[in-house]
Amino acid sequence: MKFATTRAGLIRAGVFFLVLLVIPIVGGPGYLLNTLIFTIMYAALSSSWNLIGGYAGYPSLGHVAFFGIGAYATGIIFSDSVYGGYAPFFLLPVIGLGVAFMSIPIGWVSMRTRADVFAIVTITLLFITQTLAFNLKNVTGGAQGKSVAPAPFDVGTYDWPFYYAMLILLAIAMGISLYFRRSKIGLSLATVRADEDKAHGVGVRVTAVKLIAFAVSAGLVAMVGGVWAYYVGFIYPQFAVDPLITIGMVLMAFLGGRGTLWGPVLGAFILVPAQEYFAQAFGASELYLIAYAAVFLVIMLFLPRGILPSITERLARRRASAAGAARDGASPTPSALPTSEVKVVR
């Protein structure tokens, strides 16, 4: 694996963010911006989850708890009786830092377990948070929900601040991913993911890097939750701490490729629009969830490591076999691929 910032990588990122930057200005159908906000939101969530679930190999299923905490923090500080303006956005770093610190003991306890046990421990985090949201009625409003300060933005460009806030959070999550990979944090996380016991044995600061990844990941997810709460304006426990949000961020990373920079983003840009499409095609019934799961299943069957790693591997093999064929004086043909690869392509 090479982690040098290649020119191609810079151009890819530049084009991606430039396009997203101008879309609101260029305009389009009314639903476009709304769909994009949720797509970018999930890309940011999944990229943040990827820090701990992908790079560290600790597949948390409880991350929506931090999303909910961020949402409620925003909802509680900016309740419907105050004037919000842009203040909720400026408060996000505080919420992010607060949740990051708060998550350290949680991470410390839960990451004493591994793999499937860890996944289950983190699920309980989800349910504890949801139960608290339902029961701490004085602060959360319980099942009646909690309304957030109305956002005083122009009708014509109402979505813009939320859109750009989500985009900035995505950029931050991806920037941190890139930083992790290019620093010893990423190097250490890779050893934790591959063989944590061995990592201890060569003096890797295992606990520290795991907690760093967990806390940063939790803090980012909480910030996304804060923007979401302000955007939707009214939060209920079952939506702020929705298992589907957790599943969404995990599936998107799995789909695009865990432990890759663009995998979670790609996963979000496939799954969120697909979900919206199926929701419309199948009406309000929950049938769309089945279609959604089917898409996921099909891709995972054919590209089990996620889209990006599978494609990268295929390209590398094709290049290697092409080089080999060239050495042998033959022209590179698709049939030079190993048969197992051909099967994957079909």
Partner: protein, 244 residues
Amino acid sequence: MTENVLEIDHLTKRFGGVTAVNECSFTVQKGTITALIGPNGSGKTTAFNMITGYLKADSGQIRFDGETIVKPRPADLYRRGLSRTFQQARIFPELTVEENLVVAAGYSWRQLFGRRVSESDHERAKEMLGEFRLDTLAGLPSADLSYGQRKLLEFAAVLMSDPTLVLLDEPTAGVNPVMIDTMEQHIRDRHAAGVTFLIVEHDMQLVMRLCDPVIVLDQGAPIAFGSPETIQSDPKVLEAYLGS
């Protein structure tokens, strides 16, 4: 008086009904290449695991470098100069050969936030890569290495911390004869540079040429200790190997 780097005192480990290591006591003198041999299942790896903090002993004491290790933890011991390798070579296959060395070299808190592989990391790794003739493979994912090369890489990596004592668990098991000679030479080189070794090994010819003294373990406890010659002619040792 010769100094002991490692003193094991009445170490015991049970797995259910099996007593893998039973009231085991031995010492490793500074500057030696000590062998720990014994039939399969005699508790050699289990002893290694307790010494390096991978397993909690049921009872007994471990002293390393003159200090009693109250709560052995792999990372602490590694940083203090006690390195080990595993019977089944354990490396990080996703990392490059060079990165496997860099990550084992240790780093400060400040370096943790710094470059993945810095200039000074390159320099330190370069020496070790040269010593182990791995320089041409430095940038390769270590998943591409042969089994013997992996054993070599694992050995090289745990040397990055400049250890005083290295525990090798079957360094030549499953590798080709040329690689066995290479491994032997590297052990000799490092021994000459002042490193003490405790080696678990089934290749008796290698043990006889390389190690002195030899500790023989049977059913979790030492049954013989001495030079290779005395061990070879010890009836208890022959019985342990043939009778099992």
